[in-house]
Symmetry: D2
Subunit: 312 residues, 4 copies
């Protein structure tokens, strides 16, 4: 194999090449329109940040500007729920790709209230319900958990986004009520929705995301010296989940072209992991028809293709 590996690679030079190759995509895609507050973000934002397990890091563009991480937060609530319940969380949801849109009610009804996986909205609502059962002050404690993971003490919820989600979140309300009708929510529907809308409204930068997801590249250890949050085996399992289910109805495409576990959000962010090597986060708000960032997807495809770095 004559492909360069990250270890011998100038990461700055790599990012530079990648950025050059995706520039022609500027302006392609549409900023998410479903949540009013998100629609106000400039579609031209673009940032990339890469962090190796050795602590090297390189970033470019708007990589230090915070944006709404949206569905990326589902990995964080899954991780926190996992620390409480471990494999028992699979009594209430599955680990299979959904084959349908992220917010579909069809599948949830046909499968009688058991969400296909934790990364579709229905699954994330069940996770929120679990956190409410486990935590005294769920919003506050989730925030503390996230801040600790990435060592980012001033990450916070964007209250305007959370409010905007709430005022337009009828489809999520439909999902939550349907889950409740099947007995797969145990807490008050409005309380579950409130936590969910807040987690989606977490505002983080590419750099913060790369650091926050570092534990998935290091067998569960958030940062050097920190205690492990997940075991070796749990970490690889959640990575597998991100690979098979992390990109809505485009997970196969991402695995096929990029070949890394990861998670996207309709705020235009994507975070991806190469176990034992690095984490990388991108942000570009214009989305393709499947709800994933056009430039983010392309950036990561170029990154693994130019470097020869995929897990396969």
């Amino acid at each position: 194999m004559n492909t360069l590996t990250l270890d011998h690679l100038d990461t700055n030079a790599l990012l530079e090449s990648v950025v050059k190759e995706v520039t022609h995509l500027k302006g392609k895609g549409e900023v998410a329109g479903t949540i009013p507050e998100l629609a106000n973000v400039s579609g031209d934002k673009y940032g990339v940040h890469l962090l190796t397990v050795d602590g090297e890091e390189a970033g470019t563009g708007d990589h230090l500007e915070r944006f709404s991480i949206q569905s990326i937060s589902k990995v964080l609530t899954l991780t926190l729920a996992f620390t409480f319940r471990g494999e028992r969380i699979w009594e209430r949801m599955g680990v299979e790709p959904s084959g349908t849109a992220f917010n579909s009610l069809v599948q949830l009804e046909l499968e009688r209230g058991i969400p296909r996986n934790p990364f579709i909205n229905a699954g994330a609502l069940v996770l929120a319900d679990i956190l409410i059962s486990e935590l005294r002050d769920p919003k506050k404690e989730l925030l503390s958990f996230v801040r600790a993971l990435g060592n980012c003490p001033d990450v916070t919820y964007d209250q305007r986004v959370a409010e905007s989600e709430r005022s337009s979140g009828w489809r999520n309300a439909a999902l939550a009520n349907l889950l409740r009708s099947f007995g797969n929510l145990h807490n008050d529907v409005d309380e579950v929705l409130d936590l969910y809308f807040h987690q989606c409204a977490l505002a983080m930068s590419c750099r913060e995301l790369a650091h926050t997801f570092r534990l998935f590249a290091t067998n569960g250890i958030p940062y050097d010296g920190a205690p492990a949050v997940l075991t070796y085996s749990e970490t690889k399992r959640l990575n597998a989940l991100m690979l098979t289910c992390g990109f809505y109805d485009e997970s196969g495409e991402f695995a096929y072209k990029v070949g890394l576990p990861g998670k996207s959000g309709i705020g235009g962010g994507i975070v991806a992991i190469h176990p034992d090597r690095f984490t990388v986060a991108t942000w570009s708000p214009r989305l393709n028809a499947k709800g994933n960032s056009v430039m983010g997807m392309a950036t990561l495809e170029r990154l693994t293709t130019l470097s020869g770095l995929s897990i396969f």
Copy 2:
């Protein structure tokens, strides 16, 4: 990470430990009943064969006995079709997990004749159609291709199985006719079905499968000194496909628990790949409700858990 890696591991000892841990599952599951000839196979067969990229190999049980590889053949026809058409094959099928049973017509109708991926039956029928368009004597040339991949010159079709498939293959005939109605088969329906029923009837042993799939662990090179069949990038892409779509409606589960690309068949076989490390094939005819071998799945789960070897 204090987990042993294959490189320093006594593969024989590893297999021995794995076999011991799955013995209690003997007798669990049901031999496939849909194809009469397959129902005659003893449910107690069990074999495992592991082959490292360095040529080391170890096997146990019925690892040298041939069985019907069934859907595992879909990876082989995909590979052959890929050598002719490359990425153009995705004009006629997708790369997304299906979220439904392997032989479902529902999804194919809703998505207007474009199969979700090459590993559901509808996708494999389109692959067979492509091979018929490309080859002069498709059955003969496919056989030559398979024999060359694994250096197994006497692998052949089990004609009784092929005939048995044909005489009970109404659902596949339904899929083929539906594909034809959408214009996504270009050749005669009966000819496509004939090739498909033959590929499913390929008889191979675990050892032969491990060798035949070696190219996916070696960036496309079937055996030392052979010319590459797939490029570095193509190999990793097909590996990604096996990971996201290789186990019917249980692909997520396999990725979650085993963490390797692979493919199963209702004959009870499974083959899995650790890129740059090894291939491994198992055979045990009793299947779970999703159509995957009970002991095969457990064997591979134990193998990666005990050794710490998964791609994640």
Copy 3:
């Protein structure tokens, strides 16, 4: 045709024969369990009341006892909405049988928020939304309308049932939120649900129902001397709708065996109409698997078969 027609028939004798022939079904089926308050009703209640267009009437059993009319109320809100908007209401729902359960979200999502017909829950929620847009005090004015139709000034809502619906109505809340997400509810979700839960909680007797539905047998005239509520053409159209869509996923069966337009409710009531001849209402709380009263269906089947009176 040697079958007797109603006009020359002793209706009391007819009812007596019918009742005798369905007695063996006592105890078959289950009282609706989804709404706690309904589950308290005795399953052994049974009443029938028949009213001819000439004003003759005959009843038996518990025909004067009030029960929760549930989905039967959908015909009443449709009629009231029709007086305001006429054919324009079809901009927001269809007139086709649904082919699925009465409270399914699948179809509503696939058909992008346009309910199949006004008699599935989604359709009835849109009707409630229309009434809220049209009326100053919707609950009060709906009640006045219903009282006037049947000349039953003391018909009212059963507040305990309404409250019971509300506290267990997650699936209806899911439907309402989904409708809202598609823009097919214009008013507050909770206000729409409140009206809907109240209309379902209307308590009426078989006799009151037979009188209230008389207008469908008399080209729109509630009672002699009253002004027409619907035109001749509108009346026959709503009758057609009841025939094709009035019995959830069993409408075809009812048309096939009974041959009259009608509407059922999970409180165990059914009302049916023979245009220009009579209306008939039955009550028996034990339901079959499709949610229709076992004895009610049988009573009406016997009634039309013994008398030769169906519209076909």
Copy 4:
């Protein structure tokens, strides 16, 4: 009711008014394109023929020209199968509207091979299978049966249409194979398809259709002096089926606007029945998006609205 009834009505004058009111629709809709031979028919053909139970008849336009009756034939095979098996045929299909397109595989798969009703293609294929089991020479005996019903001894199959159906009938082949896989076809798939393609290719005129369907207006008696083919009760049941299921996914619309039992075909024909009054057949090949004749639907809507004659 101050609307004229047919009995006192000049049927010629009625038809004349109706024709005048639908003329503006000429050219609207598309001739069926799925069967090559049908696509050759002029879209401008238009005929209407009305036959009262007293033997009065009136026709206009191309009412004496034969066309391919297509799905209208399903009522005829249902009637013939009914004479052999009566209510037992419902062991193999239902009586419920389908809520989906006439040739959908989705519903058939979800409901495990039991067609929703006899008027969707899957149901008609099961009927063909029953006739093959019951008849020595099915095509010949079906033809004799049809000729006898309408007293039309020279009605016959259009062999070019039958062949055209066969050569493009992949979707029907898919349905037949799916039925076979569920065990709901008992005879050879090709033989079933052959009978089905022939019945669809029956060529009849509006006048012949009106006479052939007369038995549904006369409690089962094909023509005066003939023995009854169906009993009083059976006749009304099949009429009910035509009303709820006769117009594909537009049955509700037809019931709502026309208010008569009937059956349409993609050859552009429609036949409708007013029990105890009349039968009427229309022909106009241009179809709406649901596969029903644009001018035929409008003609029948005008006919019942102008005359006040519907069953409701």
